[in-house]
Amino acid sequence: MNTVLAIVLLLAASVLSGGDESPSAGDITDSWLFDIITDISSDEERSWAKPIKSVDMDRMLELMETGLLTFHKADWFAEVDDE
């Protein structure tokens, strides 16, 4: 249910934003929307999905410097407010 609501909000956001530019945390003006999405989805269990895992950041940086990985800024994410 929460995911459905989040998706509805995302669809609304895409319509309101004009559709051409991706929202990323650096240029979101409607941060309230992503706060809502975060709130309603952060506690949802997804035992059926792949787990979220930490990486060995030193190795990732090393691979990024050699060009085998990129640290290309992604779109479609929101900063999480702990409060």
């Binding site: 995911t3 459905v4 989040a6 998706i7 995302l10 669809l11 956001a13 895409s14 559709g19 051409d20 991706s22 929202p23 990323s24 945390a25 650096g26 992503f34 999405i37 975060t38 989805s41 952060s42 949802e44 997804r46 059926w48 999905a49 792949k50 787990p51 979220i52 895992k53 930490s54 990486v55 950041m57 190795r59 990732m60 691979l63 060009g67 085998l68 990985l69 990129t70 640290f71 290309h72 800024k73 992604a74 779109d75 479609w76 994410f77 929101a78 900063e79 999480v80 407010d81 702990d82 409060e83």
Partner: protein, 331 residues
């Protein structure tokens, strides 16, 4: 107070990631409060395929398609036929260095009329797909998305504007199946199919028929009926043959009889173009005119051996045939 955690809103998993964590796709990482793609411009598979291999049977038959994939997928299908790259993490792969400009250049050099984002899951390399697709559109190259459709509506609408054709994998009509076998949910996939259809993308649907898991005739009927009622009678549906792979090596390959039966049921329900994939059958690979029954396109494997569609119409009775065909755009 901001915690440097981020939430990826690209797909319905909505992963919340602390710094140093990556999403369920394995390729989107929180680096000090900023989400980054680990695979932008780093495909691990680059091939030239016939469009029939995607499979797309009603989209410019016979054309060569420049086909790329990075590592990663946001699902974890136990039957995955490309699991070596889809379930891999990018640091365990040796990729090509191929920024979007190089993709377009290569596609043009090899006379490919389309680029396919395929093999793994283009949703997880969203930014790369979108940037390639945008440049391809400018260069007059078509864009093909081969996807499981597990994406949120906002990103989908951004991507869809550049996509000319899509083959969406509809794995079953059961949410339990998606959760238990694939690590996802059903409804977002259905939403993706209807959105793409309504937004003008040419859509074909593939269903991998897995023995004992989703080959029940009622399941086949339910899926066929959904395709008919939500995308129309002219949407091609491909029933694809399963081979034992990844975590389902204890199941046999799908029998040809099962695939033929699925095709017959779907056509009885009212779909005009139903095909059998990953298997050599004569009738399951042939396009017929829904009006006069004339044989229009004959395929041997991925080769076109006969094509009687003229400017998008049946060569016999001139009924329009759904799809994107050479000669149509000039009309």
């Amino acid at each position: 107070m901001m915690s440097n955690s981020v939430q990826c809103v690209l797909c319905p998993h909505l992963c919340t990631l602390a710094p140093g964590e990556r999403g369920r796709c394995g390729v989107r990482l929180n680096v000090e409060g900023e989400l980054v793609s680990l695979v932008y411009g780093r495909p691990v598979a680059v091939h030239i395929d016939p469009v029939e291999k995607k499979p797309l049977f009603h989209f410019l038959p016979g054309i060569d398609v420049f086909s790329i994939a990075t590592a990663g997928c946001n699902l974890k299908c136990e039957f995955c036929q490309n699991w070596e790259i889809s379930q891999a993490v990018p640091e365990d792969m040796t990729p090509y260095d191929m920024p979007p400009e190089a993709v377009i250049e290569n596609a043009l050099d090899f006379s490919c009329r389309a680029i396919a984002y395929t093999y793994t899951e283009p949703v997880v390399y969203f930014e790369y797909t979108r940037d390639c697709a945008r440049l391809a559109r400018e260069a007059g190259i078509k864009n093909i998305l081969v996807t499981a459709g597990y994406i949120n509506p906002g990103p989908l609408s951004e991507l869809a504007q550049y996509i000319d054709a899509a083959n969406v994998d509809l794995k079953a009509m059961s949410d339990d199946y998606y959760r238990n076998i694939c690590g996802g949910t059903l409804q977002p996939v259905l939403d993706t199919i209807t959105y793409l259809k309504e937004s003008g993308t040419w859509v074909e649907v593939t269903n991998l028929v897995v023995p004992t898991l989703n080959d029940d005739p009622d399941e086949i009927d339910s899926l066929s009926r959904w395709v008919l009622e939500n995308t129309g009678e002219d949407t091609p549906l491909h029933f694809s043959r399963f081979f034992p792979m990844y975590r389902l090596t204890d199941l046999p390959p799908t029998s040809i009889d099962t695939l033929r039966g699925a095709r017959e049921r779907a056509m009885e329900i009212g779909l005009n173009h139903v095909y059998v994939g990953n298997a050599v059958t004569q009738d399951g690979m042939t396009t017929e005119c829904p009006e006069c029954g004339e044989t229009l396109v004959v395929r041997q494997g991925f080769m076109i051996t006969e094509n009687n569609i003229l400017n998008g119409k049946c060569g016999n009775c001139s009924a329009p045939i759904a799809g994107v065909w050479d000669g149509m755009e000039e009309e």
